[in-house]
């Protein structure tokens, strides 16, 4: 469609052309031509007279009948919209009149009723229009029938050139995108490298203080262990004496201690003589002088110094001495 202040509209009628601005200050001019070769000159002449801004002007061309044939086609196979133009172009003789010149065609589906709108114009006419626009320094935007402006009847050469331009643009965009990605990758890698270098530098700088700190921590741990060990030793210092004192206090009067053994894990044994060996165990358990006291073996009766005694052995603690 026609947009912007620098767009011209060129209407081609049989034997004459009319050029007008579509925006900005209104301007219009007409010229006549006798033959198709003169059409290019006429377009160039009129376009040169048109007011322009600094941007390259674009021109949109409308063709009047009978320079263009427009048809409503029914009964076409239901091809995709992008394939419809090719289908019509392959059967131009079936849908359009031909008078010896090749035809450029275009077609579009109209709604959902299976009806297509198609248009055709002679290639020499279209070539002349394109040549005239090019000679006038205009950029040809579209060539369409007046009553079907949605169709595009650009000549084959122009279409091929546009396809080439589009391919070139696509290639450039692809190269640009690849270059942008490559640059981003390089920048990212460079950033990684620089950060790594900075981190390594800082780590190297911290190496000596860290070694000193590690040594200090080691010394501290050693000192802490020293203090704890000595506290434990102090705590355990009187355990043996207290155990012995508790046993001595717990033994009943009618008993004599013959031997006492005690280990640091709390186990041990004591043996001796008593009037009643079981009373010794009971006294030890009642007073909690030693943990888990129990007789080891039966008490043996003995006569010592003319008196009857029971010789006993009591073990205590989790293990045996």
């Amino acid at each position: 469609m026609i947009r912007g202040p620098s767009t011209l509209r060129l209407v081609v009628l049989p034997g004459s052309i009319r050029v007008e601005t579509t925006a900005g200050a209104p301007w219009q001019a007409e010229a006549s031509f006798d033959s198709v070769p003169e059409l290019a000159d006429a377009i160039a002449r009129l376009a040169a007279e048109a007011p322009r801004n600094r941007i390259r002007s674009r021109v949109s061309v409308l063709l009047e009948r009978p320079l263009v044939q427009v048809r409503a086609l029914d009964g076409l196979p239901p091809v995709r919209p992008q394939d419809l133009a090719a289908l019509v172009a392959s059967q131009t003789g079936r849908f359009f009149r031909r008078n010896g010149h090749p035809l450029a065609t275009d077609a579009q589906w109209q709604g959902r009723g299976g009806v297509a709108r198609a248009a055709a114009a002679e290639e020499p006419l279209l070539d002349a229009i394109a040549m005239g626009a090019r000679a006038a320094g205009l950029r040809l935007e579209t060539i369409a029938p007046v009553d079907a402006p949605e169709l595009c009847l650009l000549p084959g050469g122009e279409r091929a050139e546009r396809r080439r331009a589009a391919r070139t643009l696509l290639r450039r965009l692809a190269v640009g995108a690849a270059a942008a990605w490559a640059a981003a990758g390089l920048l990212f890698t460079a950033r990684l490298f620089l950060e790594r270098r900075a981190v390594e530098r800082e780590l190297r700088a911290l190496q000596a203080p860290l070694a000193a700190e590690l040594a200090a921590r080691h010394e501290l741990r050693s000192a802490e262990l020293t203090v704890l060990t000595m506290r434990d030793a102090q705590r355990d210092g009187g355990v043996a004496g207290r155990a012995f004192a508790r046993v001595a206090a717990a033994l009943p009067d009618s008993s004599v201690l013959g031997a006492f053994a005690w280990n640091a894990d709390g186990s041990g044994a004591l043996s001796g003589w008593a009037k009643d060996a079981s009373a010794v165990v009971a006294a030890l358990a009642r007073s909690q002088a030693v943990p888990q006291p129990r007789l080891e073996g039966p008490a043996v009766k003995e006569t010592v110094a003319g008196r009857e005694w029971q010789r006993f052995t009591v073990v205590f603690g989790p293990g045996t001495p």
Partner: protein
Amino acid sequence: MIAGALLVLRVLPAAARIVYQARAELQARAELLARARADLAGLGELRDSAATLSQDVVALAPRLVAGASATDAVATIASELSLAATRHGLKLAATAPLEADSTAGRLHRVRVHAQMEGDIRGFASLLRALEASDPVLVVRDLRVTAPAPSTDSRGPEALAIELTVEGWYLK
């Protein structure tokens, strides 16, 4: 086309792998650096702990057995035991070092087995004295054997005493 395929299928994945590894390494090094900084930031606290601990260690000095080697420490313990036995009316028959290879930091443990003779009163006071002694001496094993009761109780009581004493020295 072949160059493009090589680029997409070989070069780019390899480059991506290298960059990914480099990034992972960088992260690991950065974490290491952060930990190192945090450690160094705790130096002040470490100094405070060190000051307190050094006071505690200094206070421990009298409680340690004198000597810089196991032999010295064993001799010191034997001497302490001999002195204590004499003081409490016991007779020190023999002392022998026992193997004790335990260490705690710079502390090393020594053990001495001692055989004594004497009465129950002297033995009890010896135990009490060892409990309160400096250096700290811990009785680990104890065996007391009394003679069988007899009609003749006028003679002095003679207990056979065996004990294992351990102490710590600083190397």
